[in-house]
């Protein structure tokens, strides 16, 4: 780079500085996950996120004045909280001068917030970023049908008794039945399948039986229950005192401590009718409310300030795939990520694959092990291999605990980093999700600085 001496050396120094930045997480906390219409029925997404942020900023040595940006993932994007990240930031006492924006990549919105924060820090555009995800699926709105909206606006514009009467009749004949935005949001318009239906596609194609799905779900409940019983989640999850009764809640509401195969087998498939359907509410992730917030910075900053480092974000990848088989997203994303980093699935000490549906996780595992899949879809080569079942979702997953769509991406990274710190004493971790619309997201984390 020719040019004036001073400028060159400064530019080079800056570039080196950016390249050498290592992204670290210095704090994180999440709220309990409440069932649809459960614990948090009266709290909005803004309330949940503010609760998590208040707890986080009280526990961390990082001062709220030191934040450079706030990035929050949210799918529903409530109409009364436009750019919900900004509303949340101001409500939580983040100084007004700190910019905030909201990100959306369906089920990976929480992960997107973290990776965007990381990219900002890598680019030298921020030092400390508050990033996370939140969702209140209970508060998903009911909407009016489009022709109702048109008829209503005709009524408002009509002048004179005659015109008003005609417009009123038009209104009465319009569609009155509300649109359930929650259901619409979980349906992919490009292939006209809802998420559950895409899971049934995978169940068919990978020959995953109802029984296998139920067994996987039972394990999810048992693992989550065991982890809570031994206090594994105590620090990760803040105690909440939700209005209006202020009764204290801590444990994730969805976990069924006494879950059994019999109980699971009694449930009826909902996305494809019996006798051929296999995906039931019992072996799908639960509709839930919750928030997870993390603080990201780079290693140099953390060490200079003396902040405790929870772990490192090495790399991340998002990829696109067939929307009708969106459940396989994790395979594509993980494969690309691990290949790029020249590291194998066997080297992962812990793996979190989001349990959108039991069948979807099982399909991913089969695909990862399958030679034909590798040849067909991943460009050939040896199959990437599935994670060791003893290292996969060891403390339960979304089937038992819930999947607040905007939050989960952030929650998985937080819980994974804590597993590396508490359970394995360091090493590698992989968090990956399938994304409605046909995408996959994956994040590679670790307990120590990267050694190539």
């Amino acid at each position: 780079m020719a040019g004036k001496g001073g400028t060159v050396s400064r530019q080079t120094a800056r570039k080196q500085d950016n390249v050498s930045r290592e992204i670290v997480v210095v704090g994180g906390v999440r709220t309990p996950m409440g069932k649809f219409g459960g614990y948090f029925a009266q709290l909005t997404a803004v309330d949940l996120a503010a609760m998590a942020i208040r707890e986080l900023m009280a526990r961390t040595p990082v001062s709220i004045e030191q934040l450079d940006a706030v990035i929050i993932g949210n799918v529903i994007q409530p109409a009364d909280a436009t750019n919900i990240a900004r509303v949340i930031a101001l409500t939580s006492g983040v100084p007004r001068r700190v910019p905030a924006h909201t990100v959306h990549r369906n089920c990976a919105s929480g992960m997107q917030a973290l990776t965007d924060a990381a990219e900002k820090i890598l680019a030298g555009r921020a030092e400390v970023v508050l990033a996370g995800g939140v969702e209140s699926m209970t508060h998903a709105p009911l909407l009016f049908h489009d022709d109702f909206r048109v008829a209503l606006s005709r009524l408002q514009r009509a002048k004179g008794i005659g015109a008003k009467a005609e417009a009123l009749t038009g209104l009465m004949r319009a569609h009155w039945k509300p649109r359930v935005s929650l259901l619409e949001g979980l349906t992919d318009p490009t292939v006209n399948l809802n998420m559950g239906q895409t899971a049934e596609v995978l169940a068919r194609e990978f020959a995953i039986t109802r029984r296998e799905q139920d067994e996987f779900s039972l394990a999810s409940h048992q693992r989550a229950d065991a982890a809570w019983n031994e206090g594994w989640f105590d620090e990760e999850v803040a105690h909440a005192f939700p209005e209006p009764s202020y009764v204290p809640v801590h444990r994730d509401e969805g976990i069924r401590a006494g879950q059994t195969m019999e109980a699971l087998s009694k449930l009826k498939p909902v996305f494809e009718k019996p006798p051929l359907g296999t995906v039931t509410p019992g072996n799908s992730s639960q509709i839930t409310d919750g928030a997870a917030m993390l603080l990201l910075t780079h290693r140099q900053k953390a060490e200079a300030e003396g902040w405790p480092i929870l772990g490192y974000l090495y790399d991340w990848q998002y990829t696109g795939c067939d929307p009708a088989r969106m459940g396989l997203g994790p395979v594509y994303a993980s494969h690309q990520l691990l290949s790029r980093r020249r590291i194998g699935m066997r080297q992962m000490d812990r793996v979190e694959i989001n349990e959108a549906f039991a069948t979807q996780v099982l399909a991913c595992l089969k695909a990862m092990e399958s030679k034909s899949f590798s040849e067909r879809a991943l460009g050939g080569g040896a199959p990437m291999g599935a994670p060791d079942p003893e290292r996969l979702n060891v403390h339960g997953g979304a089937v038992a605990m819930g999947h607040p769509v905007g939050m989960t991406g952030a929650r998985l990274v937080l819980t994974l980093l804590r597993q590396l710190k508490r359970d394995t004493g360091g090493g590698f971790g992989l968090a990956t999700l399938c994304i409605g619309g046909g995408q996959g997201g994956a994040v590679l984390v670790g307990g120590e600085p990267w050694k190539s």
Binding site: A50, R54, A58, R59, F241, P244, S245, Y246, P248, H250
Partner: protein
């Protein structure tokens, strides 16, 4: 001393109110004289437009001069005062000019009545703009024509509510209720004035709502108003205790049907009578007592440091701790710490009722189980178990985590602050801040300096309490401080009456008729018999036997009769409501003073004769008086006035009686001495201190 001036600009005259001898504009003699003089000038050459505005920031006119009302000795004098004010207002109303009152700041009482005399009120939006007729709170009612003019502007329903409650409205509310013609921002004042001038002179007549003109409807409406107003005072003889309440309603009801001249005359006459009542004087006295506490030197000195307090940590989510947390949200964020999540849940639920009008304020409280967040706390207040070991442990933990300049305050009611300081690393920042139950409602706080408390810290604590809307009284670090120490003999006396055969409901009834918010026996139940026992024994140790509670009281505590908290005490309780005498009570009282009971049985009466009400009252209050005088002798509190204030604002001693010492100062001294002796009490050496 000029208090107002005229400025002419073409055909617009501005009457500008400003004075340098007082911090606010008041309707005192100087003001009335100068206004009369200026009105005479204006009447000769009326301008097209008259604007009345204040040049004192945050204040339009704060009201009439209370000292003038307090100094009134007879009804005629007060009536003449009212007539003078009414005349001033009428002269403004009668001017052919379009008159506009530009209200920016406090516009209270006579000040609002003056503004009402103008054709238009323009309310300027600001934190300080408040319009109210608070006269009812000092035992009178508006006397400058407000009772006639307000209903014409806002309708009778809103007018009765405003006059009877004394509540203030802000600029936007004033506009909504049509009290103000316009609400505007300060920069828009001139445009607003022009708009009002454009609307011209408005004569408001008639009765709104129209149906009130019908006699039966009027009867019903005012009967309902009476029922609502007197509800809170069912146990009092309201004509004697708070005469302004029935008198004002009677006056308003009469005025609906009267023509102007008669209405004003009735208003002035009624005001005259009320201003001469002892209740009026006493309520003004109590108002001044509160003001004196809010504006004491310590508060002024500590104001700046108190304003810097942004974050408070409160330990203990019981009734007191949660209440204190709510109080602290007035100026900042609060962390409420406890070791039990159930306790936190209960605590938060308990203060929910205070959040009814202010939902967002609850969000300022963060419930904490893990002791986090202390690094950012400016103040730590503990309201945990009354056990020195527990408190020492807490302070040891807290001192490790807080900043060196954070204040450490204790809500203890019976332990010594100096004792607590002995184990502290930075004892100079430790002090006592004792709230009264319920903390959000009771205005009093006792501020206690320990041996090592630094003077600036004490000032900051007093100023902080004032910023939280409380009245701080600085008291010495002696057992029971001030209020609890005076309360104990009162309660012990009531218990002794109970023992001697008087019925619990009769004792409490007599005290409530006197004006106490609840009887002494019910008070023991509400506070908790275990706490009374604890405080009683603690004070006995320190001061001697006369604080000791009887043995049967201890037996009640042992058997779990703890009062409201356990559902049974002297009375039984269901969800906080007293549901009758506890049937187990006689078995505790039985066997005491058997000799007395035998002699009573000889006479043949079933339970001994009932004492007269005032005998009961003196039997309970005189021990309190004696103890209060002892506190003065020992300099527990600096002055008799502060002591009176403490009892009014801390335990609800009836304000219409002016204070405990003030009440007894009103009896002839010999009679007082006889009363004291007849109770078997020792005459205090400083009895004359009741005169203040």
């Amino acid at each position: 001393m000029e208090v107002l001036s005229l400025e002419r600009e073409d055909d617009i005259v501005r009457l500008v109110l400003a004075r340098s001898d007082k911090p606010v504009n008041v309707l005192d003699a100087a003001f009335m004289e100068q206004l009369e003089a200026q009105l005479a000038i204006l009447e000769k050459q009326p301008p097209r437009v008259l604007v009345i505005e204040s040049a004192m920031p945050g204040c339009f006119i704060a009201g009439a001069d209370l000292d003038i009302i307090a100094a009134v000795t007879d009804a005629n004098e007060a009536q003449r005062l009212a007539e003078r004010g009414q005349s001033l207002c009428r002269r403004i109303e009668d001017l052919p000019s379009v008159s506009v009152a530009l209200v920016n700041g406090a516009c209270m009482g006579g000040g609002l009545e003056l503004a009402l005399a103008c054709d238009h009120i323009i309310a300027v939006r600001s934190g300080k703009t408040q319009l109210a007729l608070p006269e009812i709170r000092i035992g009178i009612h508006p006397g400058f024509g407000g009772c006639v003019r307000l209903p014409r502007r806002v309708g009778w329903i809103k007018a009765v509510e405003m006059i009877m409650s004394g509540r203030a409205v802000d600029a936007d509310r004033a506009f909504k209720m049509r009290l103000a013609t316009l609400a505007c921002h300060p920069e828009q004042s001139e445009t607003a004035i022009l708009h009002a001038v454009h609307l011209g002179k408005i004569r408001r007549r008639g009765v709104r709502p129209g149906w009130l003109r019908l006699w039966p409807a009027r009867q019903l409406f005012f009967a309902q108003a009476r029922k609502k107003t007197f509800e809170r005072f069912k146990h009092l003889q309201i004509e004697d205790c708070y005469p302004a309440l029935p008198a004002t309603l009677a006056l308003l009801q009469e005025i609906v049907g009267l023509r102007d001249g008669q209405a004003y005359a009735r208003e002035a006459e009624s005001l005259g009578r009320l201003a001469a009542t002892p209740t009026c004087k006493n309520l003004i006295r109590v108002f001044h007592l509160g003001q004196a506490l809010s504006k004491q030197e310590a508060v002024k000195r500590g104001k700046q440091a108190a304003a810097a307090v942004a974050h408070t940590a409160v330990y203990g989510a019981g009734i007191m701790g949660s209440g204190i947390a709510w109080v602290a949200t007035k100026t900042g964020e609060v962390d409420l710490h406890d070791v039990s999540e159930e306790a936190l849940g209960r605590g938060l639920k308990g203060i929910k009722r205070f959040a009814r009008r202010d939902g967002k304020r609850m969000r300022r409280i963060r419930p904490v189980l893990d002791g986090s967040g202390l690094a950012r706390s400016d103040v730590v207040i503990e309201a945990v178990l009354e056990d020195m070991k527990v408190k020492h442990q807490l302070w040891t933990e807290v001192e490790k985590a807080v900043r060196p300049d954070a204040l450490l305050l204790t809500n203890t009611s019976s332990l010594s602050v100096s004792e607590m300081q002995k184990h502290a690393t930075h004892p100079e920042r430790m002090a006592g801040l004792h709230f009264f139950n319920p903390a959000p409602k009771m205005p009093l706080v006792e501020v206690v300096a320990g041996d090592k408390t630094a003077a600036p810290v004490l000032d900051t604590v007093a100023a902080l309490a004032a910023a939280w809307g409380k009245y701080p009284v600085i008291v010495a670090d002696r057992p029971g401080f001030l209020v609890n120490r005076c309360l104990m003999p009162y309660m012990a006396a009531a218990l002794s009456l109970l023992q001697r055969g008087q019925k619990a409901q009769h004792i409490d009834g007599a005290l409530k008729t006197f004006g106490m918010p609840m009887g002494a026996i019910e008070l023991a139940d509400r506070v908790g018999l275990d706490i009374c026992q604890h405080v009683g024994s603690h004070l006995s140790e320190a001061f001697g036997g006369h604080f000791a509670l009887p043995d049967w009281f201890g037996r009640m505590v042992e058997n779990g009769l703890l009062g409201e908290k356990s559902g049974r005490g002297f009375f039984t309780y269901d969800h906080g409501k007293a549901t009758g005498l506890n049937p187990e009570l006689p078995q505790y009282l039985r066997g005491m003073d058997t000799s007395e009971r035998e002699s009573e049985a000889d006479i043949g009466s079933k339970a001994g004769s009932s004492m007269a009400d005032d005998a009961i009252v003196h039997a309970c209050l005189l021990p309190m008086l004696i103890e209060a005088l002892a506190c003065l002798r020992e300099s527990v509190v600096a002055a008799a006035d502060q002591l009176d204030a403490a009892l009014v604002f801390g335990i609800g001693f009836p304000p219409f009686r002016g204070g405990l010492l003030h009440y007894y100062a009103g009896l002839p001294r010999d009679e007082l001495r006889n009363l004291i002796s007849s109770q078997g009490l020792e005459l205090p050496s400083n009895l004359d201190a009741v005169d203040g």
